[in-house]
């Protein structure tokens, strides 16, 4: 019984991890059909914000939950103004430019902060379940993933900004004709997506450690989850994370974590062969 609970928590952790790392990306993809290749580096910046703030003596919760999303969100707006804005309608060029940004950020951070692993202390200790022990931080991350999904759902469903965002996702020209500045919507979306990426990076920093090249560890699963999910932000992220997370975690149990990643990819490849527009391109098409 205890073992079953532990396994269930591990599965949930895998799913929650995918939700955390792909939400920021999914927001940008859902709105603009663009994959931000620098997503992993946005997460890395979030991680560095926590490390630097912690070193400066800021409370770790403020650093994680306030400073990291704020910093990376503002950085996202800057990136949108300087780069993405010029490339609307040129999807491939946007991918290439964000890839350039990704390389630049890895190199730049390595030069400024050094190419070494920085640690952040985990804020909780373990919880005992029978004779097993589960890190309390794992439970916290599962809660954070729930909070990610809930906050986006509430914002999209019940706020005016969310209404405009949903309308822009459906038909940017029509929204423009109704007097909404769709460029501004895109800018805000990119900033919000970046903020979620930064927050995810900050939340995962105590587990993964922080290093300039850390983004590589996240982008594979994140891209695959978003692409498999399709363009609906919430339904896509949830269904893809649930499916791929359980498949990869089960494989990881049996064969080791690296094979979990590989299995996640193979599952996604087969799924994309069947549903080329992602899960929400065929199923749950009208959901958020």
């Amino acid at each position: 019984m205890d073992y079953t609970i532990v396994v269930a928590i591990e599965l949930l952790r895998a799913v929650a991890g995918l939700v955390l790392i792909s939400t920021g990306l999914a927001i940008i993809f859902g709105m603009m059909r663009v994959i931000n290749i620098a997503h992993g580096e946005f997460m890395m910046l979030g991680g560095y914000t926590v490390v630097l703030s912690a070193k400066a003596g800021v409370n770790i919760w403020i650093a994680m939950l306030v400073l990291a999303p704020l910093t990376v969100g503002l950085f996202g707006v800057l990136v949108e103004r300087l780069i993405i804005r010029h490339l609307y309608g040129r999807i491939i060029d946007t991918l290439l430019a964000t890839w350039g940004l990704s390389l630049f950020l890895i190199g730049f951070v390595a030069v400024v902060f050094g190419n070494k692993l920085e640690g952040v202390a985990t804020p909780f200790s373990g919880i005992a379940i029978g004779e097993y022990s589960v890190a309390a931080y794992t439970i916290f991350l599962i809660g954070a993933a729930l909070a990610f999904v809930a906050s986006i759902y509430l914002a999209l469903k019940y706020s005016k900004a969310g209404l405009i965002a949903r309308a822009t996702m459906q038909n940017p020209e029509m929204v423009e004709a109704l007097g909404v500045n769709s460029k501004l919507v895109f800018m805000t979306t990119f900033g919000v997506g970046a903020a979620f990426s930064g927050l995810a990076g900050a939340l995962l920093a105590p587990i993964s450690g922080v290093i300039p090249g850390m983004g590589v560890n996240f982008i594979g699963p994140a891209f695959i989850t978003v692409v498999t999910g399709g363009s609906s932000i919430i339904a896509g992220t949830l269904s893809a994370s649930g499916l791929l997370g359980s498949i990869s975690q089960s494989t990881a149990f049996l064969a080791g974590p690296v094979y979990g990643d590989a299995m996640l990819f193979f599952a996604a490849l087969v799924l994309l062969r069947l549903l080329p527009q992602g899960i929400t391109g065929r199923l749950f098409t009208r959901s958020l």
Binding site: I35, I83, I92, G100, L101, S102, L103, F104, I106
Partner: protein, 340 residues
């Protein structure tokens, strides 16, 4: 001069100067320079394979390093296990062709579009990189070859000469054979592009729907272009392995995938010669920067990639060419007193 003649002039000059280099460069240059040049030749083959699938098939792979690394590792493992390294070389190319066929089947028969294609190819290279990095234990052995994880595979047998009873290539011979390979690949691709198949592939690139409506199965054409490009890229990887006598997982890295994209973009998408110039230009730059050692290579690559997209979307060399022709057109027009 009629048009066909002008069209063939550029390739003819390129092939001619290639053959001249093949014959005379080892006579003029020193041993070390030839060894360095071989590196450019191999990377040029890799760049040409990317230039072909992107420029003439419209397939923008974000993980072309996958075939480069796979070709290198396949050659390494096969050459260590087999008597004939030449056969290993051929089989390594076949491995990459087969790999591209399987991956391409999922991509093109799933009709994945631009963004999806980019993401899937990028993640494939990433997963291979991770898997190979993970193989450091003594349990990861294929025949006599230990995969070695992030340490890579050392002391790979050098490619042997064809028809010489298994004597290994010396560096000068390697330079000549590989440059010959580059010229052969260039000519073969040029002919392929001119053929009916090549034209349909270009039509597919320009407008997939229209090509479909004209009765062509675009999936087949894209798949075949992808397999050809993947095989050539794999050949470059196998050449790299025998040139270095060493492979490591970084052959699969995103940086390699990004570099090959940048070479093609610098040279201009839609040409085969431009990317070769791109290789020479950027590798020389990165060696120069490596000497200074205070600017990070990735910063430079990233800035080049961003500025290429934002400032020179047609490619650096074509943009310069355009400037030059405009300048001459204008002066010619002024000379004749014709406006506009």
């Amino acid at each position: 001069m009629n048009r066909t003649f002008v069209n063939y002039l550029g390739p003819a000059i390129a092939v001619g100067s290639g053959i001249l280099t093949l014959i005379f460069a080892p006579l003029i240059l020193g041993f070390y320079e030839i060894f360095q040049l071989t590196q450019y030749v191999i990377l040029a083959i890799f760049a040409v394979s990317m230039a072909y699938i992107w420029g003439f098939g419209g397939i923008l792979s974000f993980g072309h390093a996958a075939v480069f690394g796979l070709g290198g590792y396949a050659y390494a493992v096969l050459a260590i296990n087999m008597d004939s390294s030449l056969l290993a070389f051929v089989l390594a190319i076949g491995t990459c062709g087969l790999f591209s066929l399987i991956l391409g089947y999922f991509i093109f028969y799933g009709r994945l579009n631009d963004v999806y294609l980019g993401v899937v190819t990028l993640v494939v290279a990433l997963i291979l990189w991770k898997l190979i990095n993970h193989t450091s234990g003594p349990g990861y052995v294929i025949g006599d070859a230990r995969l070695g994880g992030f340490n890579g595979i050392p002391s790979i047998p050098v490619l042997e000469l064809p028809w010489h009873g298994g004597a290994a290539l010396d560096p000068i011979q390697m330079f000549r054979w590989f440059l010959g390979g580059l010229i052969a690949v260039y000519v073969a691709l040029k002919l392929l592009i001119q053929s009916k198949f090549g034209r349909i592939a270009i039509a597919t690139k320009e407008n997939e729907l229209r090509a479909t409506l004209l009765g062509y199965d675009v999936r087949q054409y894209k798949l075949l272009v992808f397999v050809i490009g993947g095989s050539i890229g794999g050949m470059a990887g196998a050449m790299w392995a025998t040139y270095q006598t060493f492979v490591d997982p970084n052959m699969f890295s995103l940086e390699v995938s990004a570099k090959v994209l940048i070479w093609v973009m610098v040279g201009g998408v839609g040409t085969l010669l431009g990317p070769i110039a791109g290789v020479v230009l950027l590798q020389a730059l990165s060696i120069k920067l490596g000497e200074t050692a205070f600017i990070n290579n990735q910063i430079v690559l990233g800035m080049i990639l961003m500025s290429l997209v934002l400032v020179f979307p047609k490619g650096l060399l074509p943009s310069m060419e355009l400037l030059v022709t405009r300048f001459f057109d204008r002066s010619a027009a002024q000379g004749q007193g014709v406006s506009g």
